[in-house]
């Protein structure tokens, strides 16, 4: 039980319950199950892409281009749907993922082969991909009436009262939980982040791991691109601007160490859910949406300070214990 309390994920979970309790005192309708499903719908895309971001941050990198590559893959399939409405939806999804994989692998190649630091690589590709969105759409929108019904309604199609969007995000979570925790490559990702040099001595290829995480993040982002434009029924050159920061925020709130080496999928999903709950709660208690950004910033700062302070205290406790038993 004490072990459980030490876990950041658990702290975050308790904190979320605390907020839910506090808000529901004022607005009981906050507790309706439909409201939680709304929050899940709102945070599904964020938590998916945040998992991609998590893998990159765990290796000690960062991906600033996710917002732009999401927009680029989303815009591509939206245009494809507009001009070739006959293409079946599963092809659209595959193409969207493929475009994302391609964009991610470009990042991966630049980081692993050309050895450009991830922050610089993705700063550059963020501009490039965003510019390409504009070139593709020539500054115009693809709006709801230009999309086919199947395309637009895909994220909303529901089964047992839960949308396909949520199913897809659960599928992503489960797949990557297995990948990160139960496969050799998954463990190697943590190994690289923990100690780059030591991991190379035990035979892990840093280049391979870097390439894999950027490409996988790209793939998730590609899928998210389709889901985004379909859900909001609009694709434009400003789609998902600043989204990269939200994904990083979800990671940081979820206890991922920005230095790499540690962080869990559950934490990140809770982090994304936490952000969703807070925004939802703000609307519920009639706080102007203009407060959202300031509160997001405050939460990020608060979360990283708490995480760091707790980490240091834990380390000290461990040291003290060791001294005691010696």
């Amino acid at each position: 039980m004490m072990e459980l309390f030490k876990k950041r994920e658990f702290n975050l979970f308790v904190f979320i319950l605390f907020i839910i309790f506090g808000v529901s005192l004022r607005t009981p309708s906050f507790l309706y199950i439909n409201n939680f499903i709304d929050v899940l719908n709102d945070t599904a895309i964020l938590s998916m892409v945040a998992i991609g971001q998590l893998m990159i941050i765990v290796t000690g990198g960062i991906d600033l281009s996710v917002g732009s590559s999401l927009a680029l893959s989303g815009m591509s399939v939206a245009l494809l749907n507009q001009y070739h409405p006959g293409i079946p939806i599963f092809m659209i999804i595959l193409i969207s993922i493929a475009i994302g994989l391609l964009l991610g692998s470009i990042n991966g190649l630049l980081v692993s082969q050309a050895k450009i630091p991830p922050i610089i690589t993705t700063l550059g590709t963020m501009s490039i991909y965003r510019g390409l969105v504009f070139v593709l759409c020539k500054g115009t929108w693809v709006s709801a009436h230009e999309m086919t019904e199947v395309f637009r309604m895909f994220p909303r199609r529901s089964f047992l009262g839960i949308s396909s969007l949520i199913y897809l995000s659960i599928l992503t979570v489960v797949l990557f939980l297995i990948f990160l925790n139960l496969t050799r490559t998954g463990r190697e990702i943590y190994g690289v982040g923990g100690n780059k040099i030591a991991s190379q001595y035990v035979g892990i290829s840093l280049k391979k791991i870097q390439y894999i995480v950027f490409t996988l993040c790209g793939g998730i982002t590609g899928l998210a691109g389709f889901l985004w434009v379909a859900r909001y029924a609009a694709a434009q050159s400003e789609t998902a601007i600043g989204f990269e920061l939200q994904t990083i925020a979800a990671c940081v709130i979820g206890g991922v160490s920005i230095m790499g080496g540690s962080g869990s999928i559950i934490g990140v999903v809770l982090g994304a859910f936490f952000m969703g709950i807070v925004y939802n709660a703000l609307t519920m208690i009639n706080v102007s949406p203009f407060w959202q950004m300031a509160i997001q910033g405050f939460i990020i700062l608060f979360a990283i300070i708490i995480n760091t302070v707790m980490d240091k205290r834990n380390q000290q406790l461990m040291l003290r214990k060791r001294n005691f038993y010696e």
Binding site: I62, L64, L110, A114, K115, I116, P117, I119, I120, T121, L123, G124, T125, M126, S127, I128, R130, G131, L132, V133, F134, V135, G139, S237, L245, I248, A249, V252, I258, M259, S288, F290, W291, Q292, M293, A294, I295, Q296, G297, F298, I299, I300, L301, I304, I305, T308, V309
Partner: protein
């Protein structure tokens, strides 16, 4: 013999040092700048117009003023992505004050102070809790701009005193030189002197190269970093004054996305994102390269969104190019890429294993000297006792003259001396079979 060799080695290193300087990014940048100017002036007749050039500096000098302290931040190995949000925050405070009737002097003080306080908050959290700068400034980036949104919502402050307009719109006297531009050059000189000519600058480089080592050598690492973040905030406040004065209004989305452009400028200027390396001239030239490039592209009607593609490509190429040059660059013979090896085998006659060893133990000094003069070093011969194969590996310097060796008197003498125990050609030289390299690892 050794001395001679060493002096040769030193000469070569010196030569390579000169080559290194020529390949340095800061030396390449001016040529890129000249290229940008030439291409632009060919594409549009309006580019090389004095008034136009002066006026276009308005578009990038505010960013340039933040790029100067950002350079210090990045050399320290940190990063600050909250600068654009600090601009918004201090612009909003100035707007509020102006609405309340504060005069121009008061507005400047408020603008600077808001920036200073925001920068101090960043630096304080980073150094006090030991959190990476990217995480902290990511949070404060949302927080600062968020506060601007909370205060302004969808409204805008547009009422500013007339005299406030000078900072962002004024020229020096009757010249067409903007006040901003002069201010930037003064600041660039100050920052340049601090970085390259004072102990503070040396400390910054030391922290960037190895912050632990810097701390153990008595540098107050955290205090220096705190000061740098505070100054970055102050300069963002200054940029906010200039920008607010220039456009005469404040909206919460003011200067959005600037942080990335500023970081791009600094990195393009040759500052290593990993810290520890950078030069003020590189950054200043890079500011003008990007500024004029955008101006030129604007003149030939390239949309802003397309410009971002070019700036992004430029950033990635700027980082890749020095690495590519590094690979092409000639290196000294130690572990050089241009280092060659000669690997071959020879055959020993039966029963002379010990004799061969003995003769090589007392190898003539003159021969050794001749071999090393020809550019051979790190020379080994191995013997396979089963087949009596002699296996030789020798490293050859770049400008070796091994092909001339057979004509040397001393070489011929050695071959004559050795011919009785080895398989030889008619001229007494040993029978040599060259071997193919099938695997290599550095």
């Amino acid at each position: 013999m050794n001395n001679k060799n060493e002096s040769l080695e030193i000469k070569k290193i010196r030569k390579n040092y000169l080559v290194n300087i020529i390949w340095q990014w800061e030396i390449i940048l001016p040529f890129i700048f000249i290229m940008v100017v030439i291409i632009n002036s060919n594409l549009s007749p309006y580019f090389l117009d004095y008034t136009n050039l002066m006026n276009t500096t308005f578009n990038f000098i505010e960013k340039a003023i933040i790029a100067l302290p950002m350079m210090f931040v990045i050399i320290c190995g940190d990063i600050d992505i909250s600068v654009a949000s600090i601009i918004a925050l201090s612009s909003v405070f100035m707007g509020m004050a102006s609405q309340a009737g504060v005069n121009t002097f008061g507005l400047v003080v408020i603008g600077l102070f808001a920036g200073l306080a925001a920068g101090f908050l960043n630096g304080f959290i980073i150094t006090k809790f030991g959190i990476p700068a990217i995480a902290v400034t990511l949070g404060s980036m949302s927080l600062f701009r968020g506060i601007a949104y909370v205060i302004l919502g969808d409204k805008a402050f547009t009422k500013y005193p007339t005299s406030f307009a000078f900072f962002g719109q004024g020229y020096i006297g009757n010249t067409m030189i903007p006040f901003e531009l002069i201010l930037f050059f003064i600041l660039a000189i100050i920052f340049g002197i601090i970085l390259h000519k004072t102990t503070i600058g040396r400390k910054v480089f030391a922290i960037g190269n190895n912050s632990t080592a810097a701390r153990f050598s008595g540098i107050p690492v955290n205090r220096v970093r705190l000061a740098i973040f505070t100054v970055t905030g102050l300069c963002s406040g200054l940029a906010s004054i200039l920008l607010t004065s220039r456009i005469g209004s404040t909206r919460p989305n003011i200067a959005s996305g600037w942080e990335l452009e500023i970081i791009t400028t600094v990195v393009l200027g040759g500052v290593a994102i990993t810290g520890g390396k950078g030069n003020i001239f590189g950054v200043v030239i890079s500011i003008f390269i990007i500024g004029f490039l955008k101006f030129g592209m604007g003149l030939i009607n390239i949309p802003g969104k397309v410009m971002t593609i070019i700036i992004g490509l430029l950033l990635i190429l700027a980082i890749m190019l020095p690495q590519l040059l590094e690979r092409l660059k000639p290196k000294n013979s130690f572990g050089s890429r241009l280092m060659k090896r000669a690997v071959f085998k020879m055959k020993l006659k039966v029963g002379y294993e010990e004799e061969y060893k003995k003769r090589h133990n007392e190898i003539w000094p003159e021969l050794k000297e001749e071999l090393s003069r020809a550019g051979i070093y790190d020379y080994s011969i191995f013997l396979d006792k089963e087949t009596l194969t002699l296996f030789a590996v020798q490293k050859l310097k770049e400008n070796n003259t091994v092909e001339k060796l057979p004509s040397k008197e001393i070489m011929k003498k050695w071959w004559d001396y050795m011919q009785d125990i080895m398989e030889t050609n008619p001229d007494n030289s040993p029978v040599i079979t060259s071997l193919e390299e099938v695997f290599h690892m550095d």
